[in-house]
């Protein structure tokens, strides 16, 4: 028994030490500003944070990226977030309605584009060519990008050809949980085409983007909200204002987003 105990000792000490460091609450003034942002904003948020940290010395920003719905769930369950940047207004508004978040502010817009692999096996050149693709990947209607895609396809039915949307849907081989997964299928050459956000097309090196006509395209809106019980209220508000500033909007545009303030 003694031997067993002795052999367990290091393990127990280590486990206790781990627990202690994990449980030890970091002084809130040292804790970085925590931003929960939709996964489609991963790169643009990194750059926004760097610029924000340069502007306000001593401030540090860290991120938690996931689908907007998952982020909303985490915040509802008490995750320590300071700012929520959502890919759809509904999730932020419902948090605000339940008292979890303050005023909801639009910060950027995005549009959908068609992406094809660089080798372009199906030989697509315009959006209308999409019906020629064998394997199309879209986002599932359960996520914001999928809802925008559904809206886009039903507008295409009206504007382009009666059967366009149905013909495209018949070629859909996968409905992904998020736009990045849809893009990955094209990057790997497995899918002939995917409908994704322009910003994601821009950050993917191995895909070629094909524009979708303006009369068919839909506008995706990104909104930000400061979390009500944030311990960094002032900093959180400053970060939202920074996203809306000329410098912040320029960063958004460099990443394929368009201006957040309705033009």
């Amino acid at each position: 028994m003694k031997r067993l105990l002795r052999s367990l000792c290091p393990a127990v000490t280590m486990a206790t030490a781990l627990l202690a460091t994990g449980a030890c609450t970091v002084d809130s003034s040292e804790r970085p500003l925590t931003v929960f942002a939709a996964s489609s904003m991963t790169e643009v948020m990194q750059e926004l944070a760097l610029a924000f940290e340069r502007e306000r010395a001593g401030t540090r920003v860290r991120f938690n990226h996931a689908g907007s719905q998952v982020l909303r769930l985490q915040i509802e369950r008490g995750a320590a977030a300071d700012v929520f940047v959502s890919a759809n207004r509904e999730h932020a508004e419902s948090l605000a309605g339940a008292g979890f978040a303050d005023r909801v502010t639009p910060v950027a817009h995005n549009e959908l584009v068609l992406v094809v692999p660089l080798e372009n096996p199906a030989g697509l050149n315009t959006f209308a060519d999409l019906v020629r693709a064998d394997r199309i990947v879209i986002a599932d209607p359960a996520v914001p990008a999928g809802q925008y895609t559904a809206a886009l396809l039903s507008r295409a039915e009206e504007v382009m050809a009666e059967s366009f949307g149905t013909r495209v849907l018949a070629r859909v081989v996968s409905r992904e949980n998020n736009v990045r997964l849809a893009r990955a299928k094209v990057e790997l050459g497995e899918a002939d085409a995917a409908i994704i956000y322009r910003s994601d097309a821009l950050s993917g090196a191995r895909v070629r983007a094909i524009e979708i006509p303006l009369d068919v395209n839909v506008r995706a809106e990104y909104v930000a909200a400061v979390i009500s019980d944030s311990s960094h209220h002032e900093q959180a508000r400053a970060f939202v204002e920074f996203m809306l500033s000329v410098g912040g909007q320029a960063i958004f545009e460099r990443h394929g987003f368009s201006a957040g303030v309705a033009s």
Partner: protein, 269 residues
Amino acid sequence: MKWARASVLSLGFLLLGLLVVPAMALLVAASPAELAQGVAHPLFGPSLWLSLRTTMLSLAIVVVCGTPLAWWLASAQGWPQRLADALVELPIVMPPAVVGIGLLETFGRSGLLGGPLELLGIQVAFATPAVILAQVTVSAPFYVQAAAAAFRRVDPDLLLVARTLGQSPVGAFARVAIPIAMPGLVSGGALAWARALGEFGATLLFAGSLPGTTQTMPLAIVLALESDVRAAIAISLVLAGAAVLLLLGLRLVAGLRPSDDATSRSKLS
């Protein structure tokens, strides 16, 4: 030393608590009405049926191909076996998403076998066979390891006796080694099946997600999480409940199997 025993045991129970409490919390979080709603959710039926079909098929493949492999691994201890033993573990240590990319690079359109397969008119990615391949890859190591361990415990003398009584090598294997190793085979199979049922990462990348074709229960749960958390919890509970029932059933069957030397010997006559 009573206190020492108690304190060491309490560490074990702490772990047991961690394993059980999340499932209990799920149970508490869902009301019967919500459970009924989850079962009625459009994602539920097709994904349950697909998961059952594919996991049964992948289990069959794992057992049919894994049993001879495990026997070979257990039969000798040369360097080929030791190397293969380590290679079998590869899918366990690799993150499932990496396994998925590996499968795409193998069976995908631009993968190693993609060209020949395309010529034969076989499309694996984005189709149900991709789901099964992903499940087989991630679950087979659990079965093969358990089966090899079980075969190693089979006394070689018994096989020798069977041979002297006129059994062919295959006959001796089937009528002596398999019955003796059966409890290990069953629990390995149960573990493999459970792993296949929960398979998510490799399927997501390799098979995609299309209701009825490639969208298994774990994929449906993560998707439901994006729109309706309650439905996701309800579907998870049903999945967990089905898994617990099946695993308990298998344990029961394994426990009842006659596996002592006397019965296996009597079968020879």
